[in-house]
Symmetry: C2
Subunit: 479 residues, 2 copies
């Protein structure tokens, strides 16, 4: 069970007993609510968001962190912010290890020789020249691998056959991604020669592998690691079911080749009254390489950019600044989000409220928040504006701020979670099938409506949401 | 409009006027009909067919004609026929040009540099070392290419953006495959440097290319030719819509490397009374290389093998021989079917009736026949046995005999067409997604029921179906 965060516990008690807080509650002025409703309704019929993600996925396409396309993606983001009329556009450097994928092949050597479709995982080293040939040993779960005698694993290629299930909130990615990130170092520590997983993806009929990052902490102890497509995992399991030893050959040409300095790209609609106070929204600019990064996370970048643009088009600037951040290298370990939080931790009290969109392009169906108790009324006002477009307010869950902005939330930024319908997200996530056709323009517009309306209301609020150093350290959002 | 075949015209007149033919009509004895009904009902609940296709796709996997897997597929077929208890198992050599695919890459060079997913087409030559870089010129149809001024095409990469539509009978593959086979030589004759098509496939959300053969007659005049995945075709068209010249780079390492001798693999259940008279059924053993050839055409091989096996399991052998043929290299130009017809043309009158399964694993929903008028009553008897499992008899359409056996039909073999539901066939056809999961075991069992019941009735018929040299030359089946 999730621990009940202390701040929420306090809030619940206050609500339950009806005792008013001594502090002044934060509220949204009625005129701001009206403007937010108009913003929302306009956004629902506006295609700015879709045109942005179409532009990014067409003009840049795949943009793996540190690749040739990384610079082009940043140039695109700077130009797009400017074209959309943002008041201030700038970048902040982010440095990280540069991992390259050059080629990847695999095959069953015997019995039943045949090629397998896989994708090397981020930070996987390559195999020795000529490939790695070894027997495969199968486990059904990460726990089974943890419990395994190292002698049964030593020198072999570990394969974990965990099959992810679809869910609206995508919760099974918790285990799916753990198999991908935690599994390889565990196998390496037991002396495995290589690591394969059944893709952390919910598609059942596509011969396409889901890539993603591993959790190797020490490059010297890393082993070649890759994800088989779900269909190839099915095939491998059928071959294993014959009961004979199965030998695989992995031939991965990839690895860390140095360091790279990219950047978070930031656009601002400058606040009229409190320019130094910011509502922070965003997405991440990098994508994995096999697809064009439409749902992960062109959509998030587009939703935030379009929301800011719609606020910018109002007759006057909002009271506080709307800051849209296109983060660098989320995929290989929140590098952009961590660099951002490290740089801006000291200003955390200036962050009015924040959240990032990074779960595809399905409609937002749930809102939750980590804010001070005195700001719950303002959150309820936001919820009331979002309810007509399908968003339910869950007052019991914390708000984590999304992937990169979770790092600022960790420093004490008040944050929302705006949960999208991710039923099909993991069918395409981190694959060649992450392409523009997966985005429904109307669903994307609903997201822009949500972000525009909430951001504007937060910017106009009388009072704050409780951001302060370490304010939400125990809210449970990180669990 | 389809020409009305002369034999059918005669049959229609006879039926219309009620005048009995002077010749004795062919009929199926009542006991044989009863046995066929029992065979049908047993087959509907029998998994022999599914187990065969599972075995082929798992133990051999992809088996492109002339590849290392070609010999293993033939070994598998010989062993499987024997394991199923066939009375006679043998091979007949088939020789054809050996085409190899080694690697294939493509990219948009500019504007908007990014990789493209494609598949080189059968008999495509490779590009020069270092790749072929040229401007792309787009046409919407084959007719538009035919009408093009050679000056507009010379030195460029021709791209045809024809989009195939789904249909139960798959009729749009007529145009889809024409773009793939007829297009490349037309482009080459106009001086094009290369040729690309939007995949001849009906999927709209898979970044996977549909390969297939080209129609180059003269290797000296061939140019590099490949199919873009539908999603990459969408992307290329979006880039072209910016109105700037678009340059592509193709890097295909493939080509004809000599000649190869494979074989048709044949299994027989020997006829008790007329061992030299045969009912011929089958599928093709080769597959394209990206998938495991489950629907194309592991299913067909399995359906025919399982049908023969069920007939073999009857208390006594049928009157005539059931001949199951697993054809060699259908994919690159009916090489197995043509070799078979050339070798056996002189015995055509001994072929009681025949047809091949090569349209996936969907249920058979329509039967049509090219037979002599006096055999229409027997065909109606077959239709009556198949009706309860969803097969409608279309007495106006000819029966073509399927892909390879169309060649024996061309020599005069009486033939059926047993049309499967191909609504989704072209979603997966010739792609990496042609895998076992696409087969519904119950639908496959229905196919086995159809083949077992019809084959048995044809084998037991009193009289023949009209096979004779040149008998059905004008029946329109080839149109």
């Amino acid at each position: 069970m999730r621990r009940l965060p202390l701040t929420l516990l306090a809030a619940s008690l206050l609500l339950a007993t009806g005792i008013a807080s001594a502090a002044t509650p934060t509220t949204i002025p009625a005129t701001a609510v009206k403007t937010a409703e108009r913003l929302r309704d306009k956004a629902m019929h506006d295609d700015t968001g879709y045109r942005i993600v179409e532009s990014l996925t067409t003009e840049v396409g795949p943009r793996m962190a540190g690749s040739d396309a990384d610079q082009r993606a940043r140039d695109w983001a700077v130009a797009k912010f400017k074209a959309l009329g943002y008041d201030k556009v700038y970048t902040e450097a982010v440095t990280y290890p540069l991992w390259e994928r050059r080629s990847e092949h695999a095959a069953i050597v015997g019995p039943f020789a045949q090629p397998l479709v896989l994708s090397a995982l981020g930070y996987s080293p390559g195999t020795p020249k000529g490939g790695l040939t070894a027997q495969v040993v199968k486990f059904d779960s990460l726990d089974a691998l943890k419990a395994a005698d190292p002698a049964s694993v030593k020198g072999k290629i570990v394969y974990i056959g965990y099959r992810m299930q679809r869910a609206k909130d995508g919760h099974d990615y918790g285990m799916g991604s753990a198999v991908r990130t935690a599994g390889p170092p565990i196998a390496a520590a037991k002396g495995a020669a290589g690591y394969l997983l059944r893709s952390a993806g919910t598609d059942a009929h596509d011969r396409i592998a889901h890539t993603g990052v591993t959790g190797f902490r020490d490059p010297a102890k890393a082993i070649p690691a890759a994800a088989l497509s779900n269909l190839d995992a099915d095939q491998l399991e059928r071959v294993l079911a014959y009961g004979k030893p199965v030998t695989l050959k992995l031939d991965l040409d990839c690895g860390v080749v140095g360091e790279y300095t990219g950047a978070n790209v930031i656009g601002e609609i400058t606040g009229r009254k409190h320019p130094d106070q910011v509502v922070a929204i965003g997405g991440h600019l990098d994508s994995w390489d096999p697809g064009t990064g439409a749902i992960d996370d062109g959509a998030g970048v587009a939703i935030a950019m379009a929301a800011g643009k719609l606020i910018r088009d109002l007759p006057q600037r909002p009271d506080r600044t709307i800051r849209v951040i296109a983060f660098a290298n989320e995929e290989m370990g929140l590098w952009g989000g961590r660099a951002y939080a490290d740089k801006h931790a000291g200003e955390v009290a200036k962050f009015q409220l924040g959240t990032e969109s990074d779960f595809g392009a399905g409609p937002v169906w749930r809102m939750s928040a980590s804010v001070k108790p005195e700001a719950r009324k303002a959150i309820a006002q936001i919820a009331k504006v979002l309810a007509p477009i399908g968003v339910t307010y869950d007052a019991k869950k914390p708000g984590g701020g999304g992937s990169d902005l979770s790092q600022m939330h960790g420093k004490g930024m008040a944050a929302l979670s705006l949960t999208q319908d991710g039923t099909h997200y993991f069918d395409w996530h981190h694959t060649a099938n992450d392409t523009l056709d997966k985005i429904d323009p109307k669903e994307l517009a609903q997201n822009v409506a949500v972000y525009a309306a909430f951001s504007y209301m937060a910017a106009q609020a009388d009072g704050d949401f409780g951001s302060a150093p370490g304010a939400f350290a125990n809210d449970g959002a990180g669990e």
